[in-house]
Symmetry: C3
Subunit: 214 residues, 3 copies
């Protein structure tokens, strides 16, 4: 069992998740034609939203997303990188998906891990892991005015939930080590990428939510 | 006065509210053309959102919505039932309204009751009851990309607020028993249904928010 | 340093912010064609949303936005005033901006001040100040179905962040008095109004987010 202090794996997972969700949030902002400030704001909201939601749910006050300089720097940096070096618009769609899958994986594990170390019940830790993973993306999409990815895509929440279950089970069995954690990250990422691949070949239109609005 | 422990009326009200808001959330998802996952996600968000908001506002960590198996099962079941047996699309609109009124009533009473048992000030308990009642629907509508029902419909929040006031007054007078609680539920439901009936006959178009977008 | 009790400057700033954000929220509702209830609901959400978010982030349970009669009255009054006396629709756009700037300034200072008095770390207090300032407007815009102002406008978040930094620095230096607080309010308001003036002359269309939807 990890100690309740800010474990190094916890920090690494949080940093990875924050950075890639910042890129993902920034790219959605670029796609929506927002300016520098909009890109930074959406990047930070997408990056920190899931972790702040997690910390509110488990009573970790103040949330690390607004108290740890490293996470804030990673979020701002992700937004800035996106603004300066974002690829051509036609390549953005697929890239956002991959980044999203990395963030989903890192945050599912980081979220359930922190909930376990805070002594929450197993079922709570699974849901907290899932909420950490999908929360930032939901906030990003709601702010950008589109129906959240998690509602439009099959197998978006499921991989995150499975990863959280692995972490919680390992915690119950006293087997929570770095191997399990990074294995759970790989599991979530792998499952999500398979889903993305199958999605891309499916006949369903890419942006159902937006098309319904027109 | 009920004890601060998880009172049986509290549980019954929470279960009823969770189940019917899950149906209501699921039906909105069906109407929006979302797939199985979208239906389940929107059902769970609508069902648990109000109670989680309540628990965050009164400091009940972790929120029961993410720690009690019975509520989670009721939410998932409501979503599944909607997906499998939803009535024809033309009948959905009115059915959502009735379910919404049941959930509104159960959650207004469950929310204000829990706030009273947590020793919150009377004014806080009234607002917490109202927030519990409208919170899930607001989250449902924001996620589904439509202007929340509570902003578009007269007499949506008012019945919930009146029901909460009844609970808070009964609590202040030391007269909180099951009769008062279920009476308050009936009051909220009755008022809301009267409003729905009048609404249906009113000249206003059914979906103002959506029409403005076109 | 102010005492952790509900300081008079804190109350004044909260009241000013609540009232003007209620007007701003009400005017957005009027513009969207909502009825009396929609106007009141959006006014209250815009007015109290930022402060409730702040109190959740710093663990001030229950949030003053749902426990202090004066704030609730100010919010309701702002909504009612808007409904009864809102100016002609053609003058609303600019007026919302000015009110928004006043609320932004009052809430940036009120938010960072309360966070400092709750003993939060400096970086947290800056972000809490910013969140208090932009939170109500974001909630208002999301509920009204438009991309939040903070994502569409340059120099919206920046003045609020600078004002929060001034408050936090003064707190660190033990120099937090009423002069500093109201000076910080004037700074935020002044910077924001300069940005609004430049914005109005800029070639960018007034409502980018909405035009993209059409």
């Amino acid at each position: 069992m990890p100690t309740p202090s800010y474990h190094s794996a916890q920090l690494a997972l949080d940093l990875v998740g924050v950075f890639v969700f910042a890129l993902s949030g920034g790219l959605v902002a670029v796609k929506k034609g927002l300016d520098l400030f909009g890109v930074l704001a959406l990047a930070v909201a997408a990056a920190l939203g899931g972790g702040i939601l997690r910390d509110l749910l488990i009573g970790a006050i103040p949330p690390v997303g607004i108290s740890d300089w490293r996470l804030l720097t990673a979020a701002g940096l992700g937004g800035l990188v996106t603004f300066l070096y974002h690829p051509g618009v036609e390549r953005i769609g697929r890239f956002v998906r991959v980044l999203d899958a990395v963030g989903l994986a890192a945050f599912a594990v980081a979220g359930s891990l922190k909930s376990v170390t805070f002594g929450m019940p197993p079922i709570t830790s699974v849901i907290v892991g899932l909420s950490t993973a999908v929360g930032g993306g939901v906030i990003r999409d709601v702010l950008a005015g589109q129906v959240p990815e998690v509602l439009r895509r099959e197998l978006y929440a499921l991989p995150a939930m499975l990863g959280s279950i692995v972490v919680v089970l390992a915690g119950e069995l006293g087997a929570l080590d770095d191997w399990v954690l990074w294995g759970a990250v790989a599991l979530v990422f792998g499952l999500r990428m398979v889903a993305v691949r199958l999605d891309l070949n499916a006949p369903r239109p890419l942006r159902t939510g937006q098309q319904q609005r027109k």
